[in-house]
């Protein structure tokens, strides 16, 4: 059913643009699907001298569905607030994308790996996401839904417990569809 949106949208566009050589660009506000669901937040905790991996539960995102269209490229832009409560260390973020819930737990589902960032004390550190997704994920964006899961890799070399949460502040995917999407 979601695919009908794409049909309507593409038809609408085609009515007036004639498609031509222009591209269809879908700016998908992923954050709007995650906000307030709990999936936009990853709590983290690591004892002194330890590392830990933590993650939010997977979340379904509805998409228009691009059918047999060909995805040219997908770019992700976003910001994450690392709201640190105690301790110091580094936090790396991961975004997993898959066609189903279980798939987000597979290593191959790792779509975005944000380099580790240092945090310390009771501070909020803003981290940015800006990455071109691998072509291996292109086919996901032709479907009417995908699943997303956030993960955080925490390393605590300090002497006190590292604790806090990574809160997604924005995440926008720009999906560029090649011309002949019918």
């Amino acid at each position: 059913m979601k695919a009908k949106w794409l049909g309507l949208a593409l038809v609408s566009a085609a009515v007036v643009t004639g498609c031509g050589e222009g591209r269809a660009i879908f700016n998908v506000d992923l954050y709007s699907f995650l906000k307030g669901t709990g999936s936009d937040t990853v709590p983290y905790f690591a004892l002194p001298g330890f590392s830990a991996d933590t993650a939010s539960p997977p979340r379904k995102v509805n998409l228009p569905g691009a059918g047999s269209s060909i995805v040219d490229s997908v770019r992700a832009f976003g910001t994450v607030d690392l709201v640190n409560a105690t301790g110091s260390g580094t936090i790396g973020l991961q975004v997993y994308l898959a066609a189903d819930s279980l798939g987000t737990y597979k290593p191959s589902a790792l779509a975005i790996n944000v380099p580790s960032k240092s945090v310390s004390g009771t501070n909020t550190t803003r981290d940015t996401i800006r990455v071109d997704l691998s072509a291996a994920f292109d086919s996901l964006f032709t479907k009417s839904q995908l699943w997303i899961r956030f993960g955080a890799s925490v390393s605590n070399p300090g002497a006190t417990t590292l604790q806090g949460k990574a809160v997604l502040a924005s995440l926008l995917l720009t999906v560029i569809i090649k011309d002949k999407f019918f």
């Binding site: 059913m1 979601k2 695919a3 009908k4 949106w5 794409l6 049909g7 309507l8 949208a9 593409l10 038809v11 609408s12 566009a13 085609a14 009515v15 007036v16 643009t17 004639g18 498609c19 031509g20 050589e21 222009g22 591209r23 269809a24 660009i25 879908f26 700016n27 998908v28 506000d29 709007s32 699907f33 906000k35 509805n62 998409l63 228009p64 059918g67 047999s68 060909i70 002949k180 019918f182």
Partner: protein
Amino acid sequence: MRTFFVGAGLVALCVGCATAAGAQGWVTDARRIGLGGLGLDQGSLRRYNAAYRAVPGRAGQRGRPKLTIPIPLGLIQFFHDHPLSNIKNDPAFNHDSAGFNPVELLNTFLNPPLFLEVKKAPTPTNDVVFGIGKDSLRLNLGQTAKLVPEDQFGIGGSSRPLDAGLSIKGVRVGVMGWVHGELGFQLGDKLLGFLRDSVPAAPNTRYNIPGDAVFEAGFAPSIGYAGRIVGDSTTGLYVGGAFHYYVGLAYARVNGDGGFTTGDSIFSGPTPVKLDARGLTQYSKFGNSVGHGVGGDIGIAVVTGPIELGVGVNDIAATITWPDTRVDSALYRDSSFSKPVANHIETKTKLPVSYLVNLAYTVGKTTLGADVLNSGRGTTVHVGGEQRVGVLVLRGGVARDQRKRMEFGWGGGLRFGGLGVDLGFWTHTNSLSNQRGVTMATSLSIY
């Protein structure tokens, strides 16, 4: 699902460019194309002005061809590019092909490739941006949003594909075939805002396109008169008129409204959008009881030396009564339903009144002319002229089409005895573009 999109896309594309299709007529005579659509000869004038059956050819006019045959250079090119032997697998026509582009297909429909397209109108190339969120959808068409029609748009008009008869002393008895068809649409306010003004889609909102279509056809036994009532062959006043008894063979009318309604939320709900359509059809099939009605044409022409002026009006008071029509209602929402509303009822239709006002001025080997034509759906204006130089004729003209766009024609011809070859170029906007294309027409005339 792909078929659904392709089908819906084609329908919508037809809608979107129907205006363009109707903007210019379908002309197969390269001479007329070279004149920018202006009909200077009596043959084309008598279609709309009954008096012209009596008006003699202008001085210096090379005579009216007995037969004009278009030379289909466009078809040769078309079949070279799209061989019939491989037509099923041709990406241009196979919607399952990755190379299928409905725009190209519709441009082919809008610009039938009879003549050579020497300059294709470029289709818009800017990107189309969709903004998608959990509860939002926004479409930004950029510059191409200007092409979204704000007013009602459509194609239509009446024509007379057959006109045979015998004339004795100005009195003519004959029979003509007649066809009347119209197709009109108008984007609903919400859809117009979504497409043209990039207004975000709202939940629980219907986006629609109301439309209507009518088609009727038949024949009409006619009796008429055309003759000069004052003056002589160089200066005279001509009048003409015809009375038609219209016999309708088939009729159909559809009043419909198609669209979609958004759900409680744009993308997060189980049913983000529901397609729906509803329509009322009225029809009298071919072979059912015939329709009938009366109407007439009148015309007047004044010839005074080199100047010729005419006014013709056709299908005056032509109301057809269809004594046995059926009315059905149809509804689509998840699945389609249809039920009869009424049967064996009487319906009346009205043929559009068409008119032509024309002016021609001939001096020496030069003829200049202009006309204003309305054949039922919008007015077109043509201004043009031709200059004869020995066996050569040079032509040029401009037209304002039904979309109020200026179009240009130019060309020439050669005549050797009873044989003439003509070449005409004509700009057009019959494509999904806001720029003009150029068609080159070629035809052979036998005098």
